[in-house]
Structures are given as structure tokens and as C-alpha cells.
């Protein structure tokens, strides 16, 4: 029995038992459904073994949406608990687990896969490539992320969730203060997902540098591709820091080392530094692709080219450099003194300059345009004002002396939600709506889409603006309750209402997907938005080889050139196309990683060693495998093109 005790939840409650039942039922339902409809073969052939960047993108997307709801439920629980003073809906331990998992799920298992989803789907299309540089590695990235997310999510019902905050500061996150396995989940699951992300970073840098269509010089890349390139460069520099920090944290927790402990020469401040050396660039990893999406959307629906292309690129390059020079602003209050704080205060505020350039460039893209307010455009226009407020409060936080008062308060919480929600979430929803027809061959309903956008925007403002005030009135973040005497009640009730409005907005999006899947017309052509870049030059949905003929490009708006300037995109005739073959190894290897992670979390050493051997076996298998891919014949291409409504080219 003793062996099994470690898997028990240290602090159970009816909600947790209910989730166990819900998870169990869902798993049974999925298995039964797949069996009943005889879909196992289909799932395995078409999805689990696919190396197609579009399918991988769609799987990332589905996972991100699922995680958005997981994180959203966490958020609703937190706001409900705080809605009134002295509430007893949640106790301290549950509240702590929930805000911790909320942060991790939202940043690492929602926002990251969401941006990677869109990068996967769009970048190869935008540069006229057949796939990414390393398709199988791409599948491995996805499955590592996916299994890491699953691993992290079972913590709620097996062994207990992490409860030391998404920042997981030591010594709080050490064994002494967090004895149950929750923080092991943090260290291991994020590690596995992070490996996947690092591979994505390498993969996309190579893809963008080496696989662009003829004629597409760097300065003729669409802005979203530029943002993807820079993001992936940041990933490659930032994620190894996280890898190392997590490895050290894991060793502290599992093997008794003293990297971050407060005795025997350990240093808790080292964790904080390593975490934010990764953590600050991470927020730019999230925001830059969003900036890329807004650039595409705003230019498309202002019916104009992007204003200041060169300064857009330059500002992203500067942001990527500066993002590594500001990490100390997350702990101005750690006692490093006026000199160090002054340096980091100035670098932090300086980042606002390139960010400001981008805002002004978008505003001037509207200038003399012909603005069509579609759903993606509506998100973009709601993004600008809300993000501006989030951004200027960032500058306020960057004034280090004043930050002594904002730090650790709801003011900070307001800041980062007001940059991340309009910055990342709105952008992802805009991108989702914008590229949806390219993915699935029909459009999402505009009316429902706009309702959702407005609800989400209003909800965001109502939920987060009050936090500026309660923060300045002394409400610290991460408190599971507060007394009536503090006077925070009113502001928190407002936040709760805002969270409710947000939730309705998200439910509408799900409804829109359902509604449009059922009722939307499939007759939309390749370019329903009258857009400008290459991805709109091929069919919707996109055939597996992307372009029957590799396009030739002479500006960042290749399709627009074709439509307006008589540029010829597709020259020559069909040639046999070489494609990468499917593989089950990424899936299997990641599943073994899941087992390995689980074994590590619970210190099941034999299982850990066996699964580690399994991982190496997969690597060895790959090294000796002869795989030359396969070819799509000219005849097949002709058939597909004819079926898709006429040849492109």
C-alpha cells in the first residue's frame, strides 16, 4: 500500500474527485467513440503519424484551445473565490495550486502552442515551401509538447499540482516547503515541453532561412514570417536557460543537490535570475508572432501595404536584443541597489520605443486606407488601445523606485494581463479567424465572431482595470482571501463580472466553430479576404503539397502583385513532388517521454531507467533508418488540382 500512497492527492476535495470522474469518463468516451466509429486507423494514419506542417499546426491549435479552457476554468475559480471578502469557496492550498497551474497552463501550454500552431500552419505557406525543414522533428516537437501538457494536467488528480507559483521561486519550491510532488511535475513537464519548443526554434530558423521561394529575399518576407524568424531566434537563445534551470531544480528536488537551497552554498536568487533570463524573453516570444499577425491583418483590411516595413523589421530585431537585457525588472526589490536598478530601469523603458514604433506603423497603415471591419480586423483595432494601456503601465513598472510599490500587487497583474490578452490572445483569435478558411475551407461566422470579440474586449477591461486600483490600495497578488475591512471587495467583484463576460465570449467562439462547421458555405475560393500574401495563392483547404508549382516572388505581397500588377506567380509546369513520409516514431518516443517524466516525478527509478532506454532506442532507430520519402506524380497533382476547383498557376 505504501507504494501507492505517493499517488494520492495530498489535499483532496469534492472538486478534485469530480475532475477525476470527468477525466475518466472523457477518456472512456474517446476510446469508445473511436472504436465504435472504427476511427483508430484513421487517427493513426492521418494524425498521429503525420509530419505535415498543416496537420501538426491544427493539432497544436486544438491542444491550445483545450488548454485555454483548462486555464480559463482556473481563472474563473480564482475570480469567484476573490469576488467577495472572506470567501470559503477555495482554501489556501487549492487557491495556490490553481493560480500556479493557471499561469503555467496559460503561458506554456496555451499561448506557446497557439503561436506555434499558427507558425506551423502559415510560415511554410507564406514562404512558398512544401513543409518545414525537418518535418519529422516538427512532429516530435508537437508530441513532446502534447505529452508534457497531458503529464502536467494529470497532476491535479495524481499526486497533487504544483503550488509555488508559475515563477516557482526557491526555497519555497524546494522540498522543505513544497514536500509533495507538485513541483516535480513543474520541473519535468515544462522540461519536456521546452525540449519540443527548442526543436521548433531550430526547425523554423532553418526553414525560413533556407526554404523561401525563389525571389523572396529576407526583406521581401511577409511580416508574420519575419516575426516568426525573430521569435525562433529568441527561443533558441532563451530556452536553453530554462532547460538548465529546470535541470538544476530537478536535481535539487530529486537528488539532494543544493543549487537553489539556502544552505550548503546554494543560492535562491540564482533561480530567480535564471528564471527571468528566460522569462522576459519568453514574453517577447509570445508577443512578436502576435505583432506579425496584426501586421498581416491590418494591412489586408486597410487594403494597403504595411507602413514602414523596414522599421517594423528593425524594431523587432531591437526588441529581440533588448529582451535579454531587462530581466532584473522582475525583482527590482531584491536588494541589488540603486545603480543596478537604474541600469535595468532604463533598458526596460527603452523597450517601449521599438514597441511604440510598431504601434505608430500600424496606425499609419490605416492612413489613406479603405478599412473593412472584419472580425480579425476588429480584434486588431481592439488590441491597439488596450495593449497601449498595458504597455504604458509596463513603462510605469519599469520606473524601479515606483516598482517597489507595484511589485507583487494586483497592479502588476493588471499590467501583464493587459499586454498578454490583447497582445497574444486577441492576436491568436484574429489569426485563427483569418486563417481558418485556409485551414478548413470555410469561414467562421462574422456576426458571432464580432460579438465574441466585443465581449472579450469588454470583459478584459472590466476584469483587469479594477486591479490597478486595488493594487495601488495595497492588494497583494496571490492572496487567497482578504478581509472586508480592506475595501478590496468592490474591485474584486468587478473583476469577477469581467471574468464572466470574458467566459461568455469564449463560449461564443466555441459556438461559432460549431455553427460555422454546420452552416457555412464551402464555396469560398482560395482568397476569401482579398489578401496579399502567398498563403492565399493556393487552395483552401490546402493540398498536402501546398503549391502544385513553386511560386516566384518579387515583393512581400506576392499575391497582391499578381492581382494588381500582373506578376506571374506560378511559372512552368507540374513536376513530380518529393514529400517526407509519415512516421510513428515521434508519437511513440514522446509517449515514452511521458512515462519517463511520470517515473521521475514519482521517483520510480526502475521505470525511469527502462523508459530512458526506450527513448535511446528510438533515437538509434532513427539514426539507422533509411527513409527517402515518397513522390507525388504529375498525374496525381493534376487530379488534385482539378478536384480543388481548377489549377493554380
Amino acid at each position: 500500500m505504501e507504494f501507492f500512497e505517493r499517488f494520492a492527492i495530498p489535499h483532496p476535495s469534492p472538486a478534485i474527485y469530480a475532475s477525476m470522474v470527468a477525466i475518466g469518463l472523457t477518456v472512456i468516451a474517446i476510446i469508445a467513440g473511436l472504436t465504435y466509429f472504427k476511427k483508430w486507423g484513421y487517427i493513426w494514419r492521418e494524425w498521429l503519424t503525420t509530419v505535415d506542417h498543416k496537420r501538426i499546426g491544427i493539432m497544436y491549435l486544438i491542444s491550445a484551445l483545450l488548454m485555454l479552457f483548462r486555464g480559463g476554468v482556473d481563472a474563473i475559480m480564482m475570480r469567484s473565490q476573490l469576488a467577495v471578502p472572506g470567501n470559503t469557496l477555495l482554501d489556501a492550498q487549492h487557491y495556490n495550486e490553481i493560480f500556479t497551474t493557471h499561469g503555467i497552463v496559460m503561458i506554456l501550454f496555451m499561448a506557446m502552442p497557439f503561436i506555434i500552431a499558427l507558425m506551423n500552419f502559415v510560415v511554410p505557406l507564406q514562404i512558398g515551401a512544401r513543409d518545414v525543414a525537418f518535418p519529422r522533428l516538427n512532429a516530435l516537437s508537437f508530441w513532446l509538447f502534447f505529452f508534457a501538457a497531458m503529464l502536467f494536467n494529470i497532476s491535479f488528480v495524481v499526486g497533487g499540482s504544483p503550488d509555488a507559483g508559475w515563477t516557482s521561486y526557491f526555497p519555497l519550491a524546494g522540498n522543505e516547503h513544497s514536500p509533495h510532488v507538485g513541483t516535480n511535475y513543474y520541473m519535468i513537464a515544462i522540461q519536456i515541453a521546452g525540449l519540443g519548443t527548442l526543436m521548433t526554434g531550430i526547425n523554423f530558423i532553418v526553414t525560413i532561412l533556407k526554404m523561401r521561394a525563389p525571389g523572396m529575399t529576407l526583406m521581401k518576407m511577409p511580416m508574420f514570417t519575419w516575426s516568426a524568424l525573430i521569435t525562433n531566434v529568441i527561443i533558441v537563445f532563451a530556452f536553453p536557460v530554462l532547460t538548465i534551470a529546470l535541470a538544476m531544480g530537478t536535481m535539487d528536488r530529486l537528488f539532494g543537490t543544493h543549487f537553489f537551497s539556502i544552505d550548503n552554498g546554494g543560492m535562491d536568487m540564482l533561480w530567480a535570475n535564471l528564471f527571468w533570463v528566460w522569462g522576459h524573453p519568453e514574453v517577447y516570444i509570445l508577443i512578436l508572432p502576435a505583432f506579425g499577425i496584426y501586421s498581416e491583418v491590418i494591412s489586408t483590411f486597410a487594403r494597403r501595404n504595411l507602413y514602414g516595413y523596414k522599421s517594423m523589421v528593425a524594431s523587432m530585431v531591437i526588441i529581440s536584443l533588448f529582451s535579454f537585457l531587462v530581466w532584473v525588472h522582475h525583482f527590482f526589490t531584491m536588494g541589488q541597489g540603486a545603480f543596478v536598478n537604474s541600469i535595468f530601469s532604463v533598458t526596460t523603458m527603452a523597450i517601449a520605443v521599438p514597441t511604440g514604433i510598431k504601434i505608430f506603423n500600424w496606425l499609419f497603415t490605416l492612413w489613406k486606407g479603405k478599412i473593412v471591419m472584419t472580425t480579425p480586423m476588429l480584434y486588431s483595432m481592439l488590441f491597439i488601445p488596450i495593449f497601449t494601456i498595458g504597455g504604458v503601465t509596463g513603462v510605469m513598472l519599469g520606473m524601479s523606485a515606483a516598482d517597489y510599490q507595484y511589485h507583487n500587487t494586483m497592479f502588476l497583474v493588471a499590467h501583464f494581463h493587459l499586454v498578454i490578452i490583447p497582445g497574444v490572445v486577441f492576436a491568436m483569435l484574429a489569426g485563427l479567424t483569418y486563417w481558418w478558411p485556409k485551414m478548413f475551407g470555410f469561414m467562421l461566422n462574422e456576426r458571432i465572431g464580432k460579438w465574441a470579440a466585443w465581449l472579450i474586449a469588454v470583459g478584459t477591461c472590466v476584469a483587469f482595470f479594477p486591479m490597478f486600483i486595488s493594487g495601488l490600495d495595497g492588494q497583494a497578488r496571490r492572496m487567497y482571501t482578504y478581509s472586508e475591512a480592506t475595501g478590496f471587495g468592490f474591485w474584486n467583484m468587478l473583476s469577477f463580472i469581467g471574468a464572466g463576460i470574458l467566459a461568455i465570449g469564449f463560449v461564443l467562439i466555441v459556438y461559432n466553430i460549431y455553427y460555422s462547421t454546420r452552416y457555412a458555405t464551402r464555396d469560398i475560393g482560395a482568397d476569401p479576404w482579398d489578401a496579399r500574401t502567398l498563403e492565399w495563392a493556393t487552395h483552401s483547404p490546402v493540398p498536402e503539397y501546398n503549391f502544385a508549382i513553386t511560386p516566384e516572388v518579387n515583393s512581400s505581397e506576392a499575391l497582391w502583385d499578381e492581382k494588381k500588377k500582373g506578376h506571374k506567380l506560378f511559372k512552368g509546369s507540374y513536376q513530380e513532388i518529393h514529400m517526407p513520409s509519415k512516421s510513428g516514431v515521434p508519437f511513440i518516443m514522446s509517449a515514452i517521454f511521458f512515462v519517463f517524466g511520470f517515473a521521475m516525478i514519482f521517483s520510480l527509478w526502475i521505470l525511469a531507467i527502462v523508459s530512458l532506454l526506450g527513448i535511446f532506442a528510438c533515437l538509434i532507430h532513427r539514426s539507422f533508418e533509411q527513409d527517402h520519402g515518397y513522390h507525388i506524380s504529375v498525374k496525381e497533382i493534376e487530379e488534385t488540382e482539378a478536384k480543388m476547383g481548377g489549377a493554380k498557376g
Binding site: 541589488q336 523603458m349 497601449t388 497583494a476 497578488r477
Partner: protein, 305 residues
């Protein structure tokens, strides 16, 4: 949205009773000033962006234009882009000057208080309480502070457990208390009063209730309080102190003597701020033999300035 933002600004400026904007000491005053300067500056930025956005959206809607209007291709312009860069740069330079000046202000003895030696108080946290040691007065309290007005205060912060953050919003911003070094927070109170203080940095289960009270009283009254404590309180012993360190919540407690005598602060810190000062730094080194059992490491692991 802009409506909401303006409401916030009105609330901020209109009702002065938000703790952070209702300072009762010079450091909190400096910080409140910096906050207001940055709010007004940023308000200017927000207004410019909102106005431009509104203008573009109203003027260039497709519905306002003829069907055959074809938007021009505009590459961008050196002049415009220099303005986008130039004005923010000027704003950032201005704010940087304010920021650097205020950094040095809050990191030193408050201006106008240099005439007296600052009162040194050690504030150390343990799960989930605060221990306040007054070496000069040789007394110790738990979860409440008495401080004299009009005298600079030098808080020496450290922790017996997780990282915490000592914060009395009306006297000044917070600073971390950590187990392996001592940080210094300079504060002072201008007026008598009762202020709310708390640990602002999440530290586990009892975090929400990790608060304390600050009573600022005129210097004479402070002396009276010290005398009273000396007469009525019992001495703190090593055993008693170990009991206090146990995780949990305690009410307010008062002792004579300080725990620093048998369990000194980790003053041999890792670089950083000015915590190696004349009085306590050396005093505490004398006690090191009693402190746990890793004296040999002191010299190798901790660089001494």
C-alpha cells in the same frame, strides 16, 4: 474603453485614499510623486494613440469612401518614422532621469533625516509572521512595529524560510527578505498613525494572513513604549524563539532581548547593497560559532567586501 481609463485616472487623482497614493513618509512620498509623473506622461501617450486611432478609423472606413478608391502604396517616410522614434525617446529620457534620481533617493537615508543616526530594526520573516528586533533598544516584537516619527529607519530584512517581501505601502515600497543575505530598506514616518504592513511576496499557505501593524508615534512616546516593554515583557530565549519559528500564525508578541544574540542575521551576504555597515556587521561575526555548523564555508562561499 477610454472612458474606463479616464474613470481610473479620476479615481486615482480624485480620491487620495489609495494607500500607495496617500504617503505618510518621505520615501512613499517620492514614490507617489514618481507614480503621478509617470501617469501624466503616459496619459499623454495614451491620448495621442487613441486620438490617432479614432481619426484613422473614422476617416478611412471603407463605407466612407467611393467604391473605386484604391488605397495608395506608401513605403513609410523618414520624417514620420523619426517622429515615432524621437518623441518616445525624449519621453523615455525624461522618465529615465526621474527614475534614476528616485532610485538613489529611496536607496538612501531620506533627505532631511540625516541629522540623527537611523534607528536600525531587523525585520525577519518566518512562515507566516514577522519578527522585529530592535538591537539598540534590546527588545523584540512579533507581528507589530512601534516606530518613532521624524527619525530615519533602517530595516534590515531577512527570512527564516521562503523569500518574503516587507511592505508598508504608506511608508514606502517593499523589499525582499531572503534567507541567505540581509537587505536594507530605508523608511521614515512623517506623521504619527497606524499603518498596514504585510509580506507581499507569495510564501505558501499562510501568505494571505502574513500581515503586521505599524504604530508610528512621536519620539518621546516611543521611548515610553520601550521602557514599558522592558518592564513588562519576558526575555526571548533560544527555545522560545525556535517555537516561534514553527509554521503558523501568532498574534502580537513582545519580548526583551533579541533573537539576534543567539541566531544572528545572515549578514555575510552575497554582494549587493550596503548591508555591511559599521555596527552590526562585525558584531554578528562574533556569533558565528553558534550559528549552525558550517563555519568553514563562510570564507569560501561568501565573498566579503
Amino acid at each position: 474603453m477610454s472612458f474606463l481609463f479616464f474613470t481610473i485616472i479620476t479615481v486615482l487623482t480624485g480620491c487620495g485614499n489609495l494607500l500607495v497614493l496617500d504617503p505618510k513618509g518621505p520615501q512613499a512620498q517620492t514614490q507617489a510623486d514618481v507614480i503621478m509623473i509617470s501617469i501624466w506622461t503616459m496619459l499623454f501617450v495614451v491620448i495621442v494613440v487613441f486620438a490617432l486611432l479614432a481619426y484613422m478609423l473614422i476617416k478611412y472606413r471603407a463605407s466612407k469612401q467611393s467604391d473605386d478608391y484604391e488605397p495608395p502604396h506608401i513605403e513609410g517616410s523618414k520624417v514620420m518614422e523619426s517622429i515615432f522614434v524621437g518623441i518616445p525617446v525624449i519621453i523615455i529620457i525624461f522618465l529615465s532621469i526621474v527614475s534614476v534620481k528616485s532610485n538613489y533617493a529611496v536607496e538612501s537615508t531620506p533627505e532631511g533625516y540625516e541629522d540623527q543616526e537611523p534607528l536600525v530594526i531587523y525585520a525577519s520573516s518566518s512562515n507566516w509572521k514577522w519578527h522585529f528586533s530592535y538591537p539598540e533598544q534590546d527588545i523584540e516584537t512579533v507581528n507589530y512595529l512601534y516606530i518613532p516619527t521624524d527619525r530615519a529607519l533602517e530595516f534590515k530584512l531577512y527570512s527564516h524560510g521562503p523569500i518574503t517581501s516587507f511592505w508598508v505601502p504608506q511608508l514606502g515600497g517593499q523589499k525582499y527578505a531572503m534567507a541567505d543575505m540581509v537587505t536594507t530598506l530605508h523608511l521614515a514616518a512623517d506623521v504619527p498613525g497606524e499603518f498596514f504592513g504585510r509580506n507581499a511576496n507569495f510564501s505558501g499557505k499562510g501568505f494571505a494572513h502574513n500581515t503586521f501593524n505599524v504604530n508610528a508615534v512621536p519620539p518621546a512616546e516611543f521611548e515610553e513604549w520601550v521602557d514599558e516593554v522592558k518592564e513588562t515583557a519576558s526575555p526571548i530565549t533560544e527555545d522560545r524563539f525556535q517555537e516561534l519559528l514553527e509554521p503558523g500564525h501568532l498574534g502580537q508578541l513582545t519580548f526583551t532581548g533579541t533573537h539576534l544574540e543567539f541566531s544572528p542575521a545572515p549578514e555575510h551576504n552575497h554582494g549587493g547593497s550596503q548591508s555591511h555597515d559599521k555596527h552590526d556587521g562585525h558584531e554578528n561575526h562574533d556569533h558565528h560559532e553558534k550559528h549552525e555548523d558550517h563555519e568553514e564555508e563562510e570564507s569560501s562561499d561568501h565573498h566579503h567586501h
